[in-house]
């Protein structure tokens, strides 16, 4: 059975149809790409999966749980992590706190224990710090644990955002344009990096990306969205050669 299934998901902003019958079946361990021109509804798909928006109709299931109607924190606690198109770190907080905040749902102590710093508080906080620092060291950010997030250079902020998403302990990771603002060299590194975290953290990944190099290079399957509708779905080779995709991106093909 698929890890994540979307069945006929529709979403309207007022009278505007942002998504008209979206379908998806993401198998466990898969790395899938979601592409399409700007405004095609890609980020809306992410927002519907993570509960930021509530689908107007249709169903989204993660394992055996219906996600439509759940709040974002409930959905995230089911172990679905995500990053954002425009980086949304907690800018005024330290690098470490950015990662620690993402441990919220997995920390097991009550408000009373928190207020009195008693009981499970100490052990859990110790564990959160250790886990967070381990994660930061994997991402080569450990030396910057005390630095304010906004002071980090762009590339590191991107890395930190992925580290933060991994801190919730995800099984499914949604990456929204991870290569935005990167040069070809950095994109190569990012491709290796995504493959590596996928193996290391046993992730299923769904990613949105405009950089064809990255999408064609690492995705096993690609779905193309245009005006809220699925244009085509298939392996990279099939997508690359499909005239409909070219048309969606570049406009109608000139008459030969």
């Amino acid at each position: 059975m698929a890890l994540l299934t979307a069945t006929d998901v529709r979403h309207y902003f007022g009278g505007l149809c942002a998504l008209a019958g979206f379908n998806l079946a993401l198998e466990e361990g898969e790395l899938m790409g979601l592409i399409g021109p700007n405004g095609a509804g890609k980020t809306t798909v992410f927002n519907l999966i993570t509960g930021v928006y509530r689908a107007s109709s249709g169903s989204i299931r993660f394992k055996d749980t219906e996600l439509v109607g759940k709040t974002p924190h409930q959905i995230t606690a089911l172990r679905i992590g995500r990053t954002f198109q425009n980086i949304r770190l907690f800018r005024d907080l330290s690098v470490l706190d950015n990662v620690r905040i993402a441990h919220y749902a997995r920390a097991r102590y009550t408000p009373i224990e928190a207020l009195l710093h008693l009981g499970r508080y100490r052990g859990e906080e110790r564990r959160i710090v250790d886990d967070s620092r381990r994660l930061l060291s994997i991402f080569k950010l450990e030396r910057l644990a005390g630095e304010t997030a906004k002071n980090l250079p762009y590339g590191m902020q991107r890395r930190l955002e992925i580290a933060r998403a991994l801190a919730i302990g995800p099984e499914l990771l949604l990456l929204d344009e991870p290569a935005a603002g990167m040069n070809p060299n950095e994109i190569d590194q990012l491709m290796d990096f995504i493959q590596w975290i996928r193996r290391e953290f046993r992730l299923t990944i769904l990613l949105i990306e405009h950089q064809m190099k990255l999408v064609m290079g690492i995705c096993e399957r690609i779905q193309v969205l245009d005006f809220g509708e699925t244009l085509i779905e298939g392996p990279p080779e099939a997508i690359r050669s499909d005239p409909r995709v070219l048309e969606a991106y570049l406009g109608e093909a000139p008459v030969a």
Partner: protein, 368 residues
């Protein structure tokens, strides 16, 4: 500060005995001062107001600083605490025979305010920023007019003749207790959740933070503090009326918070102390007393022209000082920073850089 002095200071701050030692010393002093009359009654009174204001500022900072909302309801929660505690000590609890029951009344005042804090937390789920500020202002007005219309609690005339049960040791105890609770809360997953909500509410939810619960807890704890402070205030002033808890009272607390610095417990303690003490110092009689050592040739003309008219200028000088502080420290004196002593050891060590030398940033703060 010179380098060796700085090192001594750092060493001192690292000592485990420092905080307990200071607390014991403070408690001992709070008993000794009234007992042996180490300070005159006026200064004792000012000290008690400082303590009460510290409770108010630290608890309001939780919502206005750490969470980044702008609540104007703090005086309302204070009123609830004050009335609850005053009614308990005057009509229910036999405090005359058992003075030890006073903390029960204070606690009840805090809990009553906390309960109402829950009510204000609910609109914060839907509304943020300016609009939530308006709602809290409305709440403050509602509390005031409800009290004004209940004859059983004196209506607009208020309650006179409350027992003077607030003493220096009790103020010290409650100030330490509330500061400790707020500090513990801030350095927990809920506190980090509060900070995350201030930074980016949607992103917090997507990092698994239960933002509603976090807001609930922050508002409850914040209003609990206001209730405790209100209870102590009532039993110090010995008279309360709805007019005492108007928006001006809220403004006072806001000034302490923003002067001291947002999202900083140490800042709020500093802000509350500075504001309270400066306002007292600017009283003509205090200035006259402070300067009485000057020779008459200097003192008399000074007294004639300046000190005697200070009363008029007091409320100009203080706000002007505030404007200057805001211009040069837009986030307040300690904005987004914290005294190292308040940061739990685990948090301090976790933020340390990898290099064994311990960088400059090991200093006062981690969130700057």
């Amino acid at each position: 500060m010179s380098r060796p002095l700085r090192r001594r200071w750092d060493w001192l701050l690292e000592q485990r005995w420092l905080l307990p030692g200071l607390l014991v010393a403070g408690l001992a002093l709070s008993f000794a001062i009234p007992e042996y009359g180490l300070l005159n009654r006026y200064v004792q009174m000012v000290l008690m107001y400082v303590g009460i204001n510290i409770i108010l500022a630290v608890s309001l900072n939780l919502v206005n600083g750490f969470m980044g909302e702008f609540s104007l309801a703090h005086a309302g929660f204070m009123a609830v605490g004050a009335y609850t505690a005053a009614l308990l000590t005057m009509r229910v609890l036999p405090v005359a025979e058992f003075p030890a029951l006073f903390p029960v009344a204070v606690l009840a005042g805090g809990l009553a305010a906390a309960l109402l804090g829950l009510v204000v937390a609910v609109p914060s789920f839907k509304v943020r920023g300016d609009y939530l500020a308006i709602i809290t202002l409305a709440f403050l007005m509602i509390v005031k007019s409800v009290i004004e219309n209940i004859d059983a609690v004196g209506g607009p005339r208020g309650i006179p003749g409350i027992g003077k049960l607030t003493t220096l040791p009790w103020v010290f105890f409650w100030a330490v207790a509330v500061v400790w609770l707020v500090r513990n809360f801030v350095y927990s997953r809920y506190g980090r959740g509060v900070l995350a909500v201030r930074e980016d509410e949607i992103a917090s939810e997507l990092m698994s933070v239960h933002t509603r619960r976090v807001k609930f807890l922050a508002f409850t704890l914040s209003s609990f503090g206001a209730g405790v402070a209100g209870a102590l205030f009532a039993h110090l002033l010995q008279f309360i009326s709805p007019r005492v808890f108007d928006v001006i009272k809220t403004t006072d607390i806001l000034i302490m918070v923003y002067l001291g610095g947002i999202a900083s417990i140490g800042g709020s303690i500093l802000g509350a102390t500075l504001y309270t003490v400066l306002l007292e110092i600017l009283r003509p009689s205090t200035v006259a007393a402070l300067l009485s050592w000057l020779p008459a040739v200097v003192f008399d003309p000074l007294n004639e022209h300046f000190i005697r008219h200070l009363g008029v200028w007091r409320m100009v000088i203080m706000p002007l000082a505030l404007v200057l502080v805001m211009l040069y420290w837009p986030r307040g004196i300690m904005g987004l920073r914290e005294y190292r002593g308040f940061i739990p050891r685990l948090d301090r060590e976790a933020h340390r850089r990898g290099d064994p030398q311990g960088g400059r940033r090991d200093g006062a703060a981690h969130r700057d």
